[in-house]
């Protein structure tokens, strides 16, 4: 069962997304900041990372750069979810495998996740 790490300072969004993904059969882990995500990264070894952009301490972009610099996680796919900064994600295909707009359509998000995993099999 793939594990998905969700990072968002807005815990409600992280929670809603996490419940929806659990319903789909994924295992989820939630972190409220980039720093916390990096702390649990080695322990959880997620198969997919979904991160918000605008967060205290570290933006989603900085987080993705840090993750990609770690050998163990450099091939883990990362999705950026963002309202205003979606274009920034699209400009960095080296960091983000997929960009989802906020507020998101949950079915669309799930569809994109399935597609991502299928492409990687």
């Amino acid at each position: 069962m793939p594990t998905i790490l969700i990072i968002d300072d807005e815990y409600l969004i992280a929670d809603i997304l996490s419940f929806a993904l659990e319903d789909e059969g994924f295992q989820t882990v939630v972190a409220g900041s980039g720093r916390k995500a990096l702390e649990i990264l080695d322990r959880e070894r997620p198969d997919l990372i979904i991160t918000d952009f605008m967060m205290p301490g570290m933006t989603g972009l900085e987080l993705a750069e840090t993750i990609k610099s770690r050998e163990k996680h450099m091939s883990t796919p990362i999705m950026l979810m963002s309202g205003a900064q979606a274009y920034m994600g699209a400009e960095r295909p080296d960091l983000f495998d997929e960009v989802i707009d906020k507020p998101f359509d949950i079915d669309q998000v799930i569809g994109k996740i399935h597609a991502l995993f299928q492409a990687r099999l």
Binding site: D9, L12, G32, S33, M54, M55, P56, G83, A84
Partner: protein, 462 residues
């Protein structure tokens, strides 16, 4: 005397209330019940700050996600989606508050202020900090620490809270300013009001001021009588006489109306007050334009009325000699109406104004006790700007043998007072004008008969 650096808010009325704007680097509480407009005000201040090259950190201690906020803010013109995530950052500290406590929230915000180089911090949900605090001292410490860090970084702080904090609360004692927003019911009408309750380091216009939320955001209308206080001598205008538009009347009042005087026409409905005003305005020219500021008659009806007196308002308007404004009296907010009138006078270089009527203008305020002061200020300001004013006042008694209609409270600022009424003359009903007061001119007090026809208004001795 030292003047502290101010942040211009971009909201005219707001800066006027604070006599220049928020003090840069100071901290403020904006409080008001849910729906009072504090989130809109704070965001408007934030986005305007960004437009002036400031950097804003908007942090929340509430659970609601920011996307919903963006959704609603997108209907307001100040919202700039492109600035979000760039010069204005929206972050949540709810999780940190829940799991790690107030101290960690301070740490998070301090780091964020430095990281984002923020010059303004907006913290929403201050009440949650209080709920998380174990003692009032903790709340004080939380605010003091945040203030300290922010001030060190030269960052102005706005705390938003939905609670009605009183003057003795720890929050109030700590901050430099308290801005209260609320809504009062007057009859079945809701009136939004804003108050500057505490303002260290800056003067402020005291009391409650009305505001509205429109598609530009918050628009504040400071109470007119506090804003336009002329302490110095009134500017002198050369003494010249202007025709009232009616020869028969001019002859009785020493040749006409003195320029930049205020004439009040009192009388019952149908007596011809509006017609006298139309006759007065028909003497306007492109060099000395006039303004018809009406509440009762739509521009179409005013033009039709003018036509029945043989006056072509449409031609005057086309020539730039006349401007017609119709404000339905139910529109409310007397200060907004007065600022609108003064703004047009300024912009269009208006020299003559007819206000139809002062009663309707007065009804626009929820607080009737203000009416005399507002009218006094408005008429005084128009006079000081060299505008000759005519205004109508509806009296309720239709018939009266003696011209003894009680003068409205404004008669102090009124130079000339005319009473139009119906008088039974044998078997017919006559309109008569009585001259009750003419300032600075000798006048003949005997009543005049008013005759209206498509050649205009004429007056002659009864």
């Amino acid at each position: 005397m030292n003047q502290l650096k101010r942040l211009e808010s971009g909201i005219k009325g707001f800066d006027a209330l604070l006599k220049g704007g928020l003090v840069a680097g100071a901290s403020y509480i904006i409080q008001g019940r849910p729906g009072s407009g504090k989130t809109i005000l704070a965001n408007q201040l934030g986005f305007n700050h960004v437009r002036q090259n400031g950097r804003v950190l908007f942090a929340t201690l509430l659970a609601e996600p920011h996307d919903r906020l963006f959704h609603f803010l997108s209907t307001l013109s100040f919202f700039d989606r492109g600035a979000v995530g760039q010069s204005i950052q929206f972050v949540s500290a709810f999780d940190t508050l829940e799991n790690d406590g107030l101290h960690e929230v301070v740490k998070l915000l301090r780091r964020e202020i430095t990281r984002q180089r923020s010059s303004m911090l907006i913290l929403d949900g201050l009440l949650n900090a209080r709920s998380r605090a174990e003692t009032p001292l903790d709340t004080k410490q939380f605010i003091a620490e945040l203030q300290g860090h922010a001030a060190f970084a030269g960052c102005t702080v706005l705390f938003l809270t939905s609670s009605q904090l009183d003057d003795g609360s720890p929050e109030h004692t700590m901050v430099d300013g308290v801005i209260e927003m609320g809504e009062d019911m007057v009859g079945s009408r809701a009136v939004r009001r804003i108050k500057m309750r505490k303002t260290r380091g800056s003067g402020a216009i005291p009391g409650a001021h009305e505001f509205e939320i429109n598609d530009q955001g918050i628009a504040i209308y400071p109470r007119l009588e506090c804003m336009l206080t002329r302490t110095g001598a009134m500017p002198e205008h050369p003494y010249t006489i202007l025709s009232s538009g009616i020869d028969g009347l001019d002859a009785h009042i020493g040749g006409g109306l003195v320029r930049s005087s205020v004439t009040l026409i009192m009388g019952p409905s149908g007596a011809g007050k509006t017609s006298l005003g139309i006759q007065f305005l028909s003497g306007c020219s492109a060099q000395e334009p006039g303004l018809y500021f009406g509440f009762h008659e739509s521009p179409q009806r005013a033009r039709a009325k003018a036509r029945s007196l043989g006056k072509d308002f449409a031609a005057l308007e086309a020539a730039g000699a006349l401007h017609t404004v119709w404000t339905p009296a139910s529109a409310g907010l007397i200060d907004r109406v007065c600022y609108d009138l003064l703004d047009r006078v300024e912009r269009l270089q208006i020299k003559r104004v007819f206000i139809d009527s002062l009663n309707a203008l007065s009804r626009a305020t929820a607080d009737q006790s203000r009416v005399p002061d507002v009218l006094d200020t408005l008429l005084g300001e128009l006079r000081a700007r060299g505008v000759t004013v005519m205004a109508s006042w509806e009296a309720h008694r239709l018939f009266d043998d003696q011209p003894s209609v009680p003068a409205p409270d404004v008669s102090g600022v009124v130079d000339n007072l005319l009473l139009v009424q119906f008088v039974q003359h044998r078997t017919e009903l006559q309109r008569q004008v009585s001259i009750l007061k003419i300032r600075d001119n000798a006048y003949d007090p005997s009543p005049l008969e008013v005759v209206m026809s498509n050649a205009g208004i004429t007056m002659q001795k009864v």
